[in-house]
Amino acid sequence: MNTTLSKVFSEFKGKPEDLIPILQKVQETEGFLSESLMADIAKFIKLPLSKVHGVATFYAQFRFTPKGKNHVMLCRGTACHVKGAPRVLEEIENQLNIKEGETSADLEYSIESVACIGACSLAPCAMVNDKVEADLTPQKVEKIFSKAKK
């Protein structure tokens, strides 16, 4: 077991209700939940691996593949949808050459769409790493990601 993992575990008692917070913490430090990380969590919390897997796959927040250095979260909320999010997503996919849910082979970029980031008045919007990009259009997307293509 690596040291960051034992550090995360030291913050918890290992009760069943700690499972989701532990998964969140581990994902935060490790980037994603690999099979072996989940096995370690299961051992620590004394639950079958199937249970840990079951809980992790239920929630949209958890990912099982690494995310890119630049992570794009496109909002697909209602306000974004009526203001053209589908075309924005197409353009992001087009610019980065990967599809939604994928990470580029060089681990530079990944795209994910989320139910709503709660910035509806800025629709359509996306979060690129931790920054909210507001009022997106295909043209604006092209500008933001023009570097990626080169």
């Binding site: 009760k15 069943p16 209700e17 700690d18 499972l19 989701i20 917070p21 998964l23 969140q24 079951g54 809980v55 239920f58 929630y59 949209a60 927040q61 958890f62 697909r76 909320g77 209602t78 306000a79 974004c80 949808h81 009526v82 203001k83 075309r87 197409e90 087009n94 989320v114 139910a115 709503c116 980031i117 709660g118 910035a119 509806c120 008045s121 800025l122 629709a123 919007c125 931790d130 920054k131 909210v132 990009e133 507001a134 295909p138 043209q139």
Partner: protein, 630 residues
């Protein structure tokens, strides 16, 4: 230090801030402000005042609700009214320091309005501007006006007086007061808050829990986010009062992990309140103890359902269970549990800072008080609003919202998120209250109001919501798991031109079956967007099915792009932009789109120079039209 002393100190600090010789600049720095660049404005104010040698407080505040005007800045300057400015850029910030703060010359063109602090002014009164006038801000009274990270600002604005007051009350008295206020749950269904509390109070148990549902999952809604970012102590105060009434000593705030700033503000607020003994053991030296923990939601819409939320806190998959027993009797770890929405609990704080009568003067006979809404979509003034219940949808959209932008025609407003429905223009006069909205086939919901115009396809919207509901269905009960999938398949057929006319009736039959047969609120309401769009916009379904046309130009399979020969100059730009080589024509010749090859990506339309405007989108199919003509 006892509470009156704490409050005196807070008042002194607040007075000092708004009356002092040193000006104070408040910059809206919630999520909306930040994405409009407020952080840069804060830095600019700090740099510029330092450069000019001007002593000045630069503070961050929450969102005042007018998100379309961000970054918003509010300035307290001695001898001047409290003045709000909109769309402040870097240069404007520099101008405000040099012309207004140093030379008394106001930046009128950027002024939204002023709040009266006893000083006369020719500038418009902020609360009398068209956007603000129909609003009544009870829950949002502090948002955008106080520094959410400073407990003293909250205390100086009647904060925690509710808690002080109720410590002398019996739980019954509190519940009686809530009953008198007429407050109903703001999470959507509108169950009377006092009755829910009564069930829990009367349940016998060694431990009870209070949970605040801040897992705002409706796409198109952000009321809770704004309140948590702009005034977190209001929620804590409401929770303390609720916990005292029902007899809980532990509370949880179940907040979305997608709201990082709200989580930071909440953690700080809990720490501050604990330090001042407003939370923790023996609150304000009484016998009452209450502790609050934060649980971060992991992204599951179904967790808005009470029993699913409880399962999630217990570390399980967020799947609902059958009720009864209701959580008020057997909830978290099988103990009596009350789950209230953020808006409900913040309203509780206001009711006890004032009184039940004061609260119930607003609203209608059956729906009392005010409600916060996120007014978004195709509307000019997007943002967060708070209105008395009973106001008409028309007033909200056209008076506060300023109507539909770009000269487009209003089509519908969607309330209640994926559980609600679309209300057409002819019903815009109905009052916003629980019963009237239910009659129109929709629900109040947690407060999302998404405005749609002529460019929004109602069949596509129905498909969008069903897609959402189907993905978020937890899979436990068959009507929801299989039914939403069936409905989605049919809607996808219709939007791709493969629909049959009997599909409309089938959708209605399926929808009504899913509503009756599903285990929890998600399934019971998931068909609403489809049923209301069929009820009010049947003609659009028929256009898609019978005429293979999407008149709103949204559904790709039912539209086509064409080049207008008279306008085309043969500039060749569209030719180069087409990813599938569907455009032919030599430079300087009129170009043409091969309809068989075209994937309708719209690149050519985006790229065709505005001065030519030679590409147009039409409903239907060019190939079919040509066949019809022959």
């Amino acid at each position: 230090m006892d509470i009156s002393q704490i409050i005196n100190n807070a008042n002194a600090e607040w007075d000092d801030l708004i009356k002092s010789k040193i000006p104070t600049i408040l910059v809206g720095n919630a999520t909306c402000g930040r994405s409009a660049g407020s952080q840069e404005i804060i830095d600019t104010f700090k740099e510029e005042t330092k450069k000019q040698g001007l002593e000045c407080n630069v503070l961050e505040t929450g969102c005042i609700g007018m998100c379309y005007l961000e970054p918003i800045v509010c300035i307290h300057k001695q001898g001047h009214p409290l003045t709000f400015y909109s769309n402040i850029g870097k240069q404007d910030a520099i101008d405000l320091v040099n012309s207004y703060l140093i030379n008394d010359k106001n930046l009128d063109k950027k002024t939204i309005g002023v709040i009266d602090n006893g000083i006369k002014s020719d500038l418009p009164d902020l609360y009398n501007t068209p956007v603000m006038k129909p609003q009544v801000r009870l829950v949002l009274q502090n948002c955008g006006i106080i520094d959410p990270t400073n407990l003293n600002h909250y205390l100086a604005n009647r904060g925690y007086t509710g808690v002080q007051k109720i410590l002398d009350y019996s739980p019954e008295q509190i519940i009686e007061e809530v009953k008198e206020s007429g407050l109903r749950g703001r999470g959507g269904a509108g169950f009377p808050t006092w009755r829910k509390w009564m069930f829990c109070k009367e349940a016998k148990a060694d431990k009870k829990y209070l949970i605040c549902n801040a897992d705002e999952g409706d796409p198109g809604a952000f009321m809770n986010r704004s309140l948590l970012e702009g005034d977190p102590h209001s929620l804590l105060e409401g929770m303390i009062i609720a916990a005292y009434a029902i007899g809980a000593d532990t509370g949880y705030i179940y907040c979305r992990a997608e709201y990082p700033l709200a989580l930071v503000r909440l953690r700080l607020a809990i720490k501050q309140a604990t330090e001042k003994n407003l939370l923790g053991d023996n609150i304000l030296s009484s016998k009452f103890s209450f502790h609050i923990k934060i649980k971060e939601g992991a992204g599951a819409f179904v967790c808005g359902e009470e029993t699913a939320l409880i399962a999630s806190i217990e570390g399980e998959r967020g799947m609902p269970r059958t009720r009864p027993p209701f959580p008020a009797v057997s909830g978290l770890w099988k103990k009596p549990t009350i789950i209230n929405n953020v808006d409900t609990l913040a309203s509780i704080a206001r009711i006890f800072q004032n009184d039940a009568k004061w609260f119930s003067q607003y609203g209608t006979e059956k729906s009392k008080g005010t409600k916060t809404f996120a007014l978004v979509g195709k509307v000019k003034n997007t943002g967060l609003i708070e209105v008395p219940l009973g106001i008409s949808l028309k007033e909200i959209i056209f008076d506060i919202g300023g109507g539909v932008p770009n000269g487009k025609k209003f089509k519908a407003v969607q309330t209640g998120g994926p559980s609600g429905g679309c209300v057409p223009e002819e019903l815009l006069d109905i009052p916003v209250d629980y019963e009237s909205l239910a009659q129109a086939g929709t629900i109040m919901g947690s407060g999302g109001l998404v405005v749609m115009d002529e460019d929004t396809c109602m069949v596509d919207i129905a498909r969008y919501f069903l897609d959402f509901a189907q993905k978020e269905s937890c899979g436990k009960c068959a009507p929801c798991r299989l039914g939403t999938k069936q409905m989605l398949d049919i809607l996808e057929d219709i939007t791709s031109g493969k629909g049959k006319i009997e599909d409309i009736d089938l959708l209605e039959r399926l929808g009504n079956g899913i509503k009756k047969g599903s285990l929890c609120g998600l399934g019971q309401t998931a068909p609403n967007p489809v049923l209301t769009t069929i009820r009010y916009f049947r003609n659009e379904y028929e256009d898609h099915i019978l005429h293979k046309k999407c008149t709103s130009l949204v559904c790709k399979d039912l539209i086509y792009y064409d080049i207008i020969p008279e306008k085309c100059t043969g500039c060749h730009i569209c030719f180069k932009s087409c990813p599938v080589n569907a455009i032919s024509g030599n430079s300087k010749d009129i170009h043409e789109i091969d309809q068989d090859l075209c994937i309708k990506c719209g690149m050519c339309l985006d790229k065709c120079p505005v001065k030519f405007n030679a590409i147009e989108v039409y409903p239907g199919s060019k190939i079919m039209e040509e066949q019809d003509n022959e």
